[in-house]
């Protein structure tokens, strides 16, 4: 520190005296900070592994039919989006609050005129933003690799058309060509990606709720993964326990995560109407809101 005559400006704060209301701006500041922190922790390195998966799945399996190759590629890539996204959602969120406590940054933030609700929402928004960017980048990579794969397959299929010896063989080869174009241009895959993103956001909300109760990152991750697997088993368990009302009631607290996995059905060519996507999205978003309310209820009274 210098002994120079630094004159500090006084009353530089723009806070008006009186009641401090809820501020979306403060939520956004905290959210952006959370996102920046995660980004600089090289979370995006995981995308390099995804790129490897995408390229590998496009390069191998050339001994299979065109439909099979495209199915494998879309299944593996969307599966990777889901897996890596789940890791980011659960592990990334699980360490948010423990890190804040360990670094004591939570004291410095809550010592400012910042509401606890703003803090917890900000943390969540930051995580959701990270998930959004991650899913978007992986989807764009998938799209690019799919286009390259299409070009290669079209070349091979065109050879099949040109070299067909009978009209029936020609018709079958032309059918293959049309199928390749249809499969790669199928924008329905976007519906699958939207629901994957909502599922990941839901997992992040659940993990945040768990982390308001426990400060151990390992505990948070473990319980979140338990909920993840239980959520996938929910529909099977509901059938098995159909006659036990109490168990059913307890099960209903868990979200049905299986409902968000429509990507597989889209890759099979099943029609998933927007109306169905809307219902599942509404369920997911509704659950997220409720979980955030519950999180706030616990965090608001938590001793820091």
């Amino acid at each position: 520190m210098t002994e120079s005559q630094v004159n500090l400006t006084t009353a530089a704060t723009a806070i008006k005296p009186g009641r401090v209301g809820f501020s979306l701006h403060r939520v956004w500041i905290i959210g952006l900070n959370t996102f920046t922190e995660s980004m600089r922790q090289k979370v995006f390195n995981i995308l390099l592994i995804f790129a490897l998966v995408a390229i590998s799945s496009a390069s191998f399996f050339t001994e299979f039919t065109f439909s099979e190759q495209l199915k494998f590629m879309k299944d593996f890539c969307l599966g990777a989006v889901s897996v890596f996204g789940t890791l980011i959602a659960i592990v990334g969120t699980a360490q948010l609050l423990p890190n804040e406590l360990e670094n004591r940054t939570i004291y410095t933030i809550l010592a400012k005129p910042v509401r606890r609700l703003e803090f917890i929402l900000g943390k969540y928004i930051g995580m959701a933003l990270l998930l959004f960017i991650s899913v978007l980048m992986m989807s764009l990579m998938l799209g690019a690799v799919l286009k390259i794969k299409e070009a290669r397959m079209v070349m091979v299929a065109q050879q099949g058309v040109d070299q067909a010896s009978t009209p029936d063989a020609r018709e079958a080869a032309e059918g293959d060509l049309a199928q390749i174009r249809a499969d790669t241009a199928d924008l329905d895959i976007i519906k699958g990606i939207i629901l994957i993103f909502i599922k990941l956001s839901l997992l992040a909300a659940i993990t945040l709720l768990i982390s308001t109760i426990s400060t151990s990152m390992i505990f948070n991750v473990a319980v979140a993964f338990m909920v993840f697997f239980a959520g996938h088993l929910r529909s099977a368990a509901t059938e098995a326990w159909a006659h036990h009302k109490i168990w059913l009631a307890l099960l209903a607290i868990l979200p049905d995560l299986g409902a968000f996995n429509v990507a597989d059905d889209i890759n099979l060519g099943n029609l998933i109407p927007w109306q169905h996507v809307g219902l599942v999205a509404a369920d997911g978003l509704g659950r997220i809101v409720i979980i955030l309310i519950a999180t706030h209820l616990i965090f608001a009274k938590r001793e820091i």
Partner: protein, 274 residues
């Protein structure tokens, strides 16, 4: 503590609130046949631990693809028992995949059938033939289940018709009644496949041939005529083939001249409808 109870209450109330929506989503999933078989204990026992975990993580398509890729290996090594197990497993996981049913039936009806007929452990040729025919029956039952799952696409209908045409009819040997019944079934399934607007044109021609094979020459003639009346801008349709069969059947059925398809005066070819 009070706020923790309140939070739990909020979650429970939410569960109650969202139940109707989630029941509706679940009902739609069942009705639209999304997903595959439920993750049950018997299913988990058939899958390895790693694949069971992947399934629980929602990677149904990846698990099915992984098992299917194994089949390429089994095919090369003639390992039909694990291949058959995989086929059943994969179609249980993803019953909405036409490819899995079609290819699975092909393996069962053609590859596995042929392989067991040549098995050195067969006591005699007759046993080999009997075992092969059992696999043809299995493939048929398999495709019927496939059609139950995917009634909205033509592929499996055609595949079943082809199975009847090439394998099950031949399994009848010299029994003409059995043959006729088999070709009749082939015609039934070719006809069902041909109903789909996206079906390739050769399916229609196969249907007509199958009708003749099961003794329904008149029906076959009428059907060739409906093909002839279709849009002649369709380049995939073998018009020479359609014309040839119409002429042949008109002669075979002794159709009166005035009831036949009009000819061009100069070369006797059939007049193309306007």
């Amino acid at each position: 503590m009070r706020h923790k109870f309140l939070a739990i209450l909020v979650l429970v109330l939410a569960a109650v609130l969202f139940s109707p929506l989630e029941n509706r989503i679940q009902a739609e999933r069942v009705w639209r046949k999304y997903g595959g078989a439920r993750v049950s204990l018997p299913l988990r026992e058939k899958l390895g631990q790693g694949t069971a975990v992947a399934l629980l993580a929602g990677l149904r398509g990846v698990v099915a693809d992984f098992l299917w890729i194994q089949n390429a290996d089994y095919f090369v090594k003639d390992e039909w028992v694990p291949m058959y197990r995989n086929i059943e497993l994969v179609t249980t996981l993803q019953p909405q995949s036409t490819t899995f049913w079609e290819q699975g039936a092909w393996h069962m009806g053609w590859n596995i059938g042929y392989s067991v007929s040549k098995d050195p452990k067969n006591e005699n040729t007759a046993q080999g033939i009997r075992r092969e025919r059992e696999w043809h029956q299995k493939a048929r039952d398999f495709l019927l289940r496939g059609i139950d799952n995917i009634p909205q696409q033509y592929d499996l209908y055609f595949a079943l018709g082809w199975l009847y045409w090439t394998k099950l009819a031949k399994d009848c040997g010299e029994n003409t009644d059995c043959q006729r019944a088999a070709y009749s079934k082939a015609a039934e399934y070719f006809g069902a496949a041909g109903e789909f607007p996206e079906a390739p044109t050769y399916i229609g021609r196969e249907y007509a041939r199958a009708l003749e094979k099961c003794g329904r020459d008149r029906d076959a003639y009428e059907y060739w005529k409906t093909l002839w009346k279709a849009d002649h801008k369709m380049t995939n349709q073998l018009w020479t083939e359609v014309e040839r069969n119409i002429k042949r059947l008109e002669d075979a059925l002794a159709i009166p001249e005035d009831k036949r398809v009009p000819r061009n005066k100069d070369d006797g070819s059939l007049q193309v409808p306007l």
